[in-house]
Symmetry: C2
Subunit: 156 residues, 2 copies
């Protein structure tokens, strides 16, 4: 399927009080090519294998395919991943009709907090909460596959 | 799981008369790194996604994880694969206690025929049929991931 997502920086921690869910996520990449990525994710007790295609030119759309796998399978596959496993907490916050997913990163990406909202169409309107900062949709350096290779701590 | 496999060249077509099964296989790779490969395979009406780790030093053992996916999913993922999709027929031949899988390649790998036998232990004995040629276990150029990049027609 094709996903339409917009990504923003987050300017304060006030979203945490509004979150209805938070989940620790550990993930790695079996490859991080710009034409395709293969991600292994451990999300609580669930595992996922996700293949993403290249982004569209405007950075809004991307082919995404995901399959649930067991925790044990995910753990075995994480060992095969490229260096730079990502560790983060994902908060989910309902804002109007949409759910924002806010990732707070740890380790080499400590200090980075990014929010994503998924849309049905490119034109769809959505409410912007007060903690939402600059839009970074399509900026490759915020891709998790890039954060694993060039983490936030090296940006300064 | 860890697989133990030995691979051989095939010196004649006589194995075809002994085959109890043959299946057309189309496969591509989402990555072909030597530390890990992610393969998409279409095998008749079935699809598979397979992750393989690096080979052991003797080339005999390799971590392998496989998940069945639908034909439609495999077709979508094949479109994302690196260039050099592999097209072959796999013949299965029972020889003594073991089943040999013999791959006859087409396209850019036309002329190449390779047999593989899976063992339970490294020391396990197995019968060698008359059509079995030189052993090529662990020779990276016979890996399908390599054949997709440096096909048989370029070897001469």
């Amino acid at each position: 399927m094709i996903e339409i997502e917009r990504k923003f920086l987050v300017t304060s921690e006030s979203f945490k009080a509004e979150a209805f869910k938070d989940t620790r996520i550990i993930q790695g990449f079996l490859n991080t090519d710009k034409c395709r990525t293969v991600r292994v994710r451990l999300k609580g007790t669930q595992g996922f294998l996700t293949v993403k295609g290249p982004s569209s030119q405007d950075g809004l759309e991307r082919f995404e395919w995901e399959k649930e796998i067991s925790k044990t399978e995910a753990e075995a596959l994480l060992k095969l991943c490229e260096e730079g496993v990502i560790d983060k907490t994902r908060y989910e916050v309902k804002v109007g009709e949409h759910v924002y997913e806010i990732d707070e990163f740890y380790g080499d990406n400590d200090g980075l907090v990014v929010a994503e909202v998924e849309l049905q169409t490119k034109e769809e309107d959505f409410e912007k909460p007060e903690w939402l900062g600059a839009e970074v949709t399509g900026d490759i350096k915020y891709y998790n596959s890039q954060l694993s290779k060039y983490p936030f701590k090296l940006w300064k």
